[in-house]
């Protein structure tokens, strides 16, 4: 083993040393100076020779037959300043060329012609750059992602924010964090992604499952969070961002520093501290909504052109208070909360985080290695270990008041090997395998019956994707993936529940122990998931292109959908999973038309996602408890149709003023029952007027108007309760279905940069949201029954780069 490895490595590490005087090959990358994005279509001319090359979709170019010694390159790109760069040719050589991208200020979100280094070529996709991400430095990933059209959020207050892509969320979204799939109990509606937004250098959002290299079950989409690029030269650099916010009387501090060496070694350290007290809606404090987050990460490794490796460790620790008034005992409490204009409990401002609260610790350790084989491609090997510990503290009585009600520890090991055949000019293939083992341990010390049982999950996957440049105008993409998933659980059922669910007839064989009032069972389920994607992109003119994509994906049910069994306090519902639930199958067709017409650029992206056996929660009856009658919500399957369109447009009046808009429109329907689906984002539109002037200390000002319409299509899940009023029993309807009214929010952000010399910059930013302190509630905020959303928030941000 060792000798083979040694010989493979020694064979590959030495750069080819035998070049003759004038038959060296120069390969290189042309990238955006700001964020390292590859630039496609850059022209590289070797001055003084007749040789030139154009960069491909990956920003790569090759010039062969160059002579040893100094060579001057003229590099030009339609969107960039042309530069001349000198390179030293010593045999076959590599160079990276960075171009200043002029259109940087056009929009935060990539609109047209810029979406170059995307994860797929034909699916709907958008990219958030560092500058945009930094605005949310003291916030969270879910908030940052709302910058993308078609992405909304499902939240529990303002600190637990889950991304929703074209109406789908939770287990239907894959989040890739620095090359690893985040395993953070994403199934829960009140489980936000455990990721520090400050580790991201860029974030890509793929709407749909087309990015098959990451998984085949991303029915909603894939979010790829990548760290900032490491320089390949001898340097030390970093940045620190300090944010202070008026709402919540808190803020954040984040800092990172990178040391890199000429020989490719690097080390990067990063840390974040965010602390807030109770947030405030326009009229009152939102008691117990503070949060406290402490994260750090370290990355080190060696980065050569032909090979490299890195080791990463990150630690994420988050403590989040949940609105005190949202903890209710029964339906009558819920009815009172809904019909009250104000939360039923408002205390003075405090930094204390009491029950109900969550504490989540996520640890990630990753090792990866890559090797380029000339003429073949790049091999990547990766192992990652993730440990996610989630504690949820309820309001409990007596000795148990400091004990968590939920204590889940999810441990995941993943090994991946990918081979990227990127040497071909017009064909690019990628293949890989994945092996994953996951174990969930719910600590019985909580004294509360387990919400998610003990389980072991095994996954094995294999994929192949390909890209063909048929001509300079036409590109085809196709891929397939197969994943095997085995879920092996040990779960206790109350005998009464077991019988009520009618499991005895179908699952009698899985009982391993009968304890009288409880049964210990061992459900083992195997799933075979197939995914396939095919698409085409056509440049119909210099300024326009059209992409069409079809993706099939299958998703196995998550532990919550299979095994949930208990009371959900903030909803006053009993939620029941079902062992009979099977995979859901999505067929998605998307079309993207992008076009530049003079100063106007726009993108129109309609889609249809038809999901067979879509898994969802719906009320199925009532159950009598000591607290009164509770509605029972059960996981069921139906066929669902999601039909929508995402629109992006930008118009630049001149070099200083521009106007941009993004709009998302979605209609979703439960086709099986011919009714509306719950929790579907309403039509929303966001318009930004921007002013930028480089000569005024890089001043940029954005005025943003967000309008969210009322969701008029919703299922009626209301129920009635009997309350005693003025000495008689009366029936009252608990209206949990009707969405809140439309709302309009105005925000402004301004930013200016001062050069301090020595490559140091100081950027001052002012970000104000909900400028007019508007009272509003959002349909997709689960705390909308209890309190208004956030009032005005003014943040001052100081960024120091060095």
């Amino acid at each position: 083993m060792r000798s083979i490895l040694l010989s493979v490595i020694s064979m590959l590490t030495g750069l080819t040393l035998y070049a003759q005087d004038c038959d060296a090959i120069l390969i290189g990358d042309v990238v955006d100076f700001h964020d390292g994005d590859p630039l496609v279509g850059a022209v590289v001319i070797a001055i003084g020779t007749d040789k030139q090359a154009v960069t491909d979709f990956y920003g790569k170019f090759t010039i062969d037959g160059v002579c040893n010694g100094k060579l001057s390159l003229q590099v030009s790109h339609p969107l960039c300043k042309t530069i001349i760069k000198e390179v030293m040719i010593e045999g076959n050589s590599y160079t990276e060329i960075r171009l200043e991208h002029h259109l940087e200020e056009l929009g935060e979100v990539v609109v047209t012609g810029e979406s170059l280094d995307t994860e797929t070529r034909t699916a709907q996709e958008a990219v958030l750059k560092t500058e945009t991400i930094e605005k949310y430095s003291a916030g969270n990933l879910g908030q940052a992602l709302k910058e993308v059209s078609g992405v909304s959020s499902l939240s529990t207050g303002s600190t637990i924010v889950k991304p929703v892509i074209q109406g789908l969320h939770s287990s239907r979204i894959i989040i890739m964090n620095n090359g690893t799939r985040l395993q953070d109990q994403e199934w829960g509606i009140d489980h936000a992604p455990n990721i520090d937004v400050n580790t991201a250098g860029r974030i890509s959002v793929i709407k749909g499952a087309a990015a098959l290299q990451y998984g085949g079950d991303a029915v909603g989409g894939t979010i790829v969070v990548e760290p900032g690029r490491i320089n390949m030269n001898d340097s030390i650099y970093g940045k620190t961002i300090l944010t202070g916010a008026s709402n919540g009387r808190g803020g954040g501090l984040t800092s990172q520093i990178t040391k890199s060496y000429d020989n490719g070694w690097f080390v990067n350290l990063q840390g974040t501290l965010n602390r807030y007290g109770d947030f405030r809606s326009p009229d009152y404090y939102l008691t117990n909504t503070g949060f406290y987050e402490k994260n750090f990460s370290i990355r080190t490794g060696l980065n050569k052109f032909t090979y490299g490796f890195s080791a990463n460790y990150s630690y994420f620790d988050n403590k989040i208070g949940i609105l005190r008034a949202s903890h209710i005992g029964n339906l009558q409490d819920l009815e009172r909360a809904i019909n009250s204009d104000q939360p039923l409990r408002i205390d003075p401002f405090s930094y204390d985080i009491n029950a109900p609260r969550q504490r989540v610790i996520h640890r990630l350790f990753k090792l990866d290695f890559f090797k380029r084989f000339s003429g073949l491609g790049k091999l990547e090997l990766q192992y990652d270990y993730q440990q996610n510990n989630r504690l949820e503290f309820d309001i409990r009585r007596g000795d148990d008041s400091n004990k968590p009600s939920i204590d889940l520890e999810l441990t995941t090991h993943t090994f991946m090997a990918d081979l990227d055949f990127d040497s071909g000019r017009n064909v690019h293939m990628k293949t890989g395998i994945l092996l994953r083992y996951q174990e969930n341990f719910p600590d019985p010390d909580t004294g509360v019956r387990r919400l998610i049982p003990d389980y072991e999950k095994y996954e094995a996957g294999v994929y192949l994707t390909g890209l063909w440049n048929l001509s300079s105008d036409l590109l085809l993409e196709a891929g397939g993936r197969y994943d095997f998933v085995r879920m092996d659980a040990l779960k206790f059922y109350e005998t009464s529940r077991w019988n009520q669910q009618n499991y005895q007839s179908d699952f009698a064989g899985i009982i391993i122990e009968d304890l009288g009032d409880q049964l210990l069972t061992n459900p083992v389920f195997d799933y075979h998931n197939l995914a396939a994607s095919a698409g085409a992109r056509y440049h119909f003119s210099n300024e326009g292109q059209l992409s069409l994509n079809y993706t099939l994906s299958q998703r196995a049910p998550n532990p919550s959908e299979l095994f949930s069994d208990g009371l959900h306090h903030s909803n006053a519902t009993i939620e029941l999973g079902d062992l009979r639930i099977d995979q859901e199958v999505s067929h998605k067709v998307s079309l993207t038309v992008e076009k530049n017409i003079g100063k106007l650029s726009f993108s129109v992206a309609p889609y249809l996602n038809y999901i067979n056996d879509y898994i969802f929660l719906e009320p199925t009856g009532a159950e009598q408890t000591i607290r009164g009658a509770f509605p029972v919500w059960s996981y069921k399957q139906t066929n669902a149709r999601f039909l929508g369109v995402d629109l992006d447009a930008a118009y630049s009046f001149n070099e200083h003023w521009s106007l941009s808009n993004k709009t998302a429109f979605l209609k979703a329907k439960d086709v099986g029952q011919n009714r509306a689906l719950i929790d579907i984002p309403a039509v929303n539109t966001s318009t930004t007027l921007s002013f930028t002037k480089r000569s005024w200390k890089d001043l940029s000002i954005n005025l943003t108007s967000d309008y969210v319409f009322r969701q008029n299509e919703f299922p009626d899940n209301n129920f009635t309760i009997e309350v005693i009023e003025n000495g008689s029993l009366v029936e009252k309807e608990v209206d949990i279905s009707t969405p809140p009214d439309a709302y309009h929010l105005l925000g402004i952000d301004a930013r200016t940069r001062f050069e301090l010399g020595n490559n140091s910059d100081l950027t001052l930013g002012l970000i104000a949201t909900n400028l007019f302190d508007t009272n509003y509630r959002d349909y997709l905020n689960r705390l909308r029954y209890y309190a208004d959303d956030l009032g005005r928030n003014v943040q001052l941000q100081i960024k120091f780069t060095y």
């Binding site: 490895l5 490595i9 192992y383 004294g447 409880q518 210990l520 000591i626 005693i724």
Partner: protein
């Protein structure tokens, strides 16, 4: 050289990590802080006649029959009877944490008056907790008494359930018949 070691380590690490899972059978959990039983002990003032009414979760509301014009001293009890051989008295906890609890009664369709008893337990602000009350019925009516145990009430006094705020820990109905 370095890389080969690293690679070897990586594979070793993978196999080490994945080979140490345990197959222990999980421990059974019997929830302890449940309330599954509400009792009302009534003593008729004057005659000293007593009656006990027990409601267990899942059962229909039990009947209480009282004499019109009489007063009754009533004591409420909350129990965890999920393990019949080991019934736990939660009332003691409620009394010990009187500041965080309140017992409240609502009456529908019956001419019944419920007042705090002079020997009721009190919280640190001398508010009666509502464990001991005096019930007085009049006329010939039948209706419902709804017993609430409220956790962390916003107010310790009030005339309707809404006045108290807090979360409902117990909501139990008893049918009351006044003859």
């Amino acid at each position: 050289m370095k890389n080969s070691k690293l690679l070897a380590l990586m594979f070793l690490g993978t196999s080490l990590f994945t080979s140490c899972s345990d197959d222990d059978t999980p421990e059974v959990i019997n929830e302890e802080e449940l309330i599954t039983q509400v009792t009302l002990d009534l003593t008729e003032v004057g005659t000293g006649t007593t009656q006990s009414v027990v409601w267990n979760v899942g059962e229909a509301a039990p009947n209480i029959t009282i004499n019109s014009g009489s007063s009754y001293e009533v004591e409420v009890g909350f129990f965890d009877a999920s393990t019949p051989s080991d019934v736990e008295n939660i009332t003691e906890e409620v009394i010990a944490e009187a500041d965080e609890h309140q017992v409240f009664y609502e009456i529908a369709n019956a001419s019944l008056e419920i007042d705090p008893a002079t020997d009721d337990f009190e919280d640190s602000s001398n508010n009666p907790v509502g464990i001991r009350t005096v019930w007085t019925g009049s006329g010939t009516t039948a209706g419902v008494v709804r017993v609430y145990l409220i956790h962390e009430p916003v107010s310790k006094t009030g005339n309707t359930r809404g006045d108290f705020g807090g979360e409902t820990d117990v909501e139990a109905d008893f049918n009351i018949i006044i003859n």
